[in-house]
């Protein structure tokens, strides 16, 4: 076999060990300016890294106690979480915190050493009139926050605290002619936003409101000739859409509408097989965000050697079953 072919063969396997090492190395880069500039993503980063490690079947590669201590150090009296200690509370981080507690089976620590579940749940900010959710006290609204709220509240078994019907109406108002959804009513469809809206409707058990034929068609037409997926028409491919698009297709039971082999090849090509991590496109810089969403994509495609990801919660299926099983598969009217 020629040398170049050999390399190609090697690249087209999942570089599990390298990815694990890469994720373990992330918190050791304190002598790099970038480490400090990204502190506003620290809690999300921990969630991305931990979830990736669970999918890679190395759940203990980061110390559990340290992770829990860090998450608790980000909590505010209000119950909400910030990105890191001294950072303001925001829905984006509160969701990550709840997801980490779920992943590590650590809700008891939240009760003992944090504010407890109820206060976390009460920190959600629903607009009583519209049903939408704000990210924080400054009031920005986005379907990302509505999804985050429903995700966290259902993991906390506290969905009854909010007006689900109004939230559903708000999501439905964001639907567009192409079957997709935007940031707010009137905004253009975007794969990331579609994931949040479809997942919110799935949690609320209102998938009947989704134009599944239309949306499925639009989503699978995100696949480009090189196998990668884009987020909107006429845009470039990016590994992260392997998650936003595929998870949405999975929730409406249409992952078989895309070319599986081509997408697997595209994601594997985005790996840094020497130093671990996955990038947006082949040959680019890796980061933990694209690493997670490359892996979740592969998991949804049934790639061997990975744990199954839940398309609604972006947590391992086993985690979601354990947590929602405990709350007796919350029933909504």
């Amino acid at each position: 076999m020629a040398k170049s072919e050999e390399k190609e063969e090697k690249e087209l396997e999942l570089a599990t060990d390298q990815h694990v090492k890469y994720i373990q190395s992330l918190d050791t880069r304190k002598d790099q300016y970038d480490y400090w500039l990204t502190e506003h993503l620290r809690l999300n980063g921990l969630y991305w890294g931990l979830t990736a490690l669970h999918l890679l079947k190395h759940p203990d590669a980061l110390p559990r106690d340290e992770a829990i201590n860090f998450v608790l150090s980000c909590q505010h009296e209000s119950g909400g979480f910030g990105a890191a200690p001294n950072h303001d509370a925001h829905m984006l981080y509160t969701v990550s915190a709840v997801q980490i507690f779920a992943l590590l089976d650590a809700f008891d620590e939240l009760e003992k050493r944090g504010t407890g579940k109820l206060k976390v749940a009460q920190s959600g900010l629903q607009n009583q009139e519209k049903g939408s959710f704000a990210g924080d006290e400054w009031g920005e609204e986005d379907t990302r926050f509505l999804y985050g709220a429903l995700n966290a509240l259902s993991l906390l078994d506290m969905l009854h605290l909010v007006d689900i019907d109004k939230a559903v109406n708000h999501v439905h108002a964001c639907a567009n002619f192409d079957g997709g959804y935007g940031v707010n009513p009137g905004d253009e469809s975007h794969s990331g936003q579609i994931f949040t809206c479809v997942a919110a409707l799935t949690i609320a058990k209102r998938q009947d409101l989704i134009n599944q034929e239309k949306l499925g068609g639009w989503l699978c037409e995100r696949q480009l000739e090189n196998g990668g997926l884009n987020g909107r028409p006429e845009k470039k491919e990016d590994v992260c859409y392997s998650w936003w698009v595929l998870s949405s297709l999975s929730m409406i039971d249409r992952t078989h509408w895309i070319n599986r082999d081509k997408l697997i090849k595209f994601i594997l090509e985005c790996q840094d097989t020497d130093n671990g991590g996955i990038s947006d496109r082949p040959g680019n810089m890796v980061d933990v965000w694209h690493t997670l969403f490359g892996l979740t994509g592969l998991s949804l495609l049934g790639y061997p050697g990975l744990d199954d990801i839940d398309p609604v919660y972006c947590l391992p299926k086993s985690t979601v079953e354990r947590v929602l099983g405990k709350s007796k598969q919350q029933s909504l009217p």
Binding site: Y33, D136, F177, G182, G227, E234, N284
Partner: protein
């Protein structure tokens, strides 16, 4: 942590000098952070230096959302002077001159903030937090300066989005921001009048600039029905509107047959006009014969276009043809037997031939779906 589009570099060891430089940079940044935290801890929001600290930090790191929040707190605690309600009370107390001058001071501080965020957005046009802060500043105009001045500031922002969208036709932050501006400008707090016609014209201009601008076509899809409603359009006006829009999208496709955005809009528009996805909304009272005539014209138009060239990877026109022929069949079941091109399955074969990712299962499902529809109608 999110690296979009940056080339991967081989990990070369930093020289000692580079390392020292980076550590120095970190030191300066963290000292600034510490200083700000110390000031926040003792509640020094009304001190000028606190306000300046936030600016320096945000220039280094505009993603630092907590610092944007602190900057808002500084604005409220000392930089900005009055609110509209306070002003009113003062006016009663015959201090009109003082109130007016305070509003003027606020106006100038707020415009400084717009200037500051403008510079940052040039470098970071996709940073959510900067856009959010800019919205907050605009809201302050409504609370703190006379209505005419507030309207002026908000109107200027519309021009600003035009600039941003001229640079990047698809920036969805800027499109969303524009819709936010319009919605607010239309309320009594500002202009109190509809801007829908202006916005519709704006989408036309953006489409003329670049045909494949899906963001503009999308916006158009949302404005169209309001335009018709506000024009109080009767059937005749609606028919004219339909014809003009039909020509616009057909001309666009003639120039860019391989463009996905155009076909999405085309299929949406035709479905709305013909009611093939429920009640027709562009011309609600269109008679069946008229619909049949239009569909036949559309089928001819697409066929002619396909005959003019070879498009081995294209599926969009064929998807449209499946929809047209299904719509025709529903209005006139016998049509599908007149010639094979009137049968949706004829076009499905073309889709299967041309579709590059070979999503066979999707087309199998479509085939079953078509067969179901053909069977249901025949039984009726």
């Amino acid at each position: 942590m999110e690296h979009h589009g940056k080339k991967r570099e081989a990990p070369t060891a930093r020289t000692e000098e580079q390392r020292k430089k980076e550590l120095q940079k970190i030191k300066v940044y963290r000292e600034l952070e510490d200083e700000l935290r110390e000031r926040v801890a003792r509640g020094a929001f009304n001190e000028r230096r606190t306000f300046e600290c936030t600016k320096d930090l945000l220039k280094a790191n505009p993603e630092y959302y907590t610092v944007w929040n602190l900057r808002r707190r500084c604005m409220m605690a000392g930089v900005l002077t009055s609110t509209a309600e306070e002003e009113e009370e003062e006016e009663k107390g015959k201090e009109e001159a003082a109130a007016a001058s305070r509003a003027q001071i606020d106006d100038s501080y707020l415009s400084e903030e717009l200037e500051f965020t403008l510079k940052l957005l040039k470098k970071f046009p996709k940073c959510y937090w900067i856009w959010n802060y800019r919205k907050w500043i605009l809201e302050q105009y409504i609370l703190r300066v006379p209505k005419a001045a507030a309207c002026g500031a908000w109107r200027n922002e519309l021009a600003y989005t035009q600039k941003v969208l001229y640079q990047d036709h698809r920036n969805f932050h800027a499109w969303g921001y524009r819709r936010y501006l319009v919605a607010k400008l239309e309320t009594p707090a500002l202009l109190g009048q509809s801007l829908v016609e202006d916005e519709f014209i704006y989408t036309t201009r953006m489409i003329e600039l670049e045909l494949s601008n899906f963001s503009a076509w999308h916006y158009r899809s949302r404005l169209m029905f309001r335009v018709l409603e506000e024009r109080k359009a009767d059937d005749k006006v609606r028919a004219e509107f339909f014809q003009a829009e039909r020509e616009l999208i057909q001309d666009a496709i003639n120039c860019g047959i391989e463009d996905q955005s155009l076909w999405y809009y085309y299929r949406f528009f035709m479905a709305q006009a013909l009611g093939s996805e429920g009640r027709p909304t562009i011309i609600p009272n269109m008679p069946a014969e008229e619909k049949i005539r239009i569909i036949e014209e559309e089928i001819d138009w697409v066929e002619d276009m396909l005959m003019d060239g070879s498009y081995p990877n294209l599926i969009y026109p064929y998807e449209a043809m499946v929809e047209h022929t299904l719509a025709l069949f529903k209005l006139q079941p016998s049509a599908k037997d007149v010639r094979e091109q009137n049968n949706p399955k004829y076009w499905l074969v073309k889709i299967r031939e041309n579709e590059k990712n070979k999503n066979t299962k999707r087309w199998d499902e479509l085939e079953r779906n078509i067969e179901r529809q053909l069977a249901t109608e025949s039984n009726e």
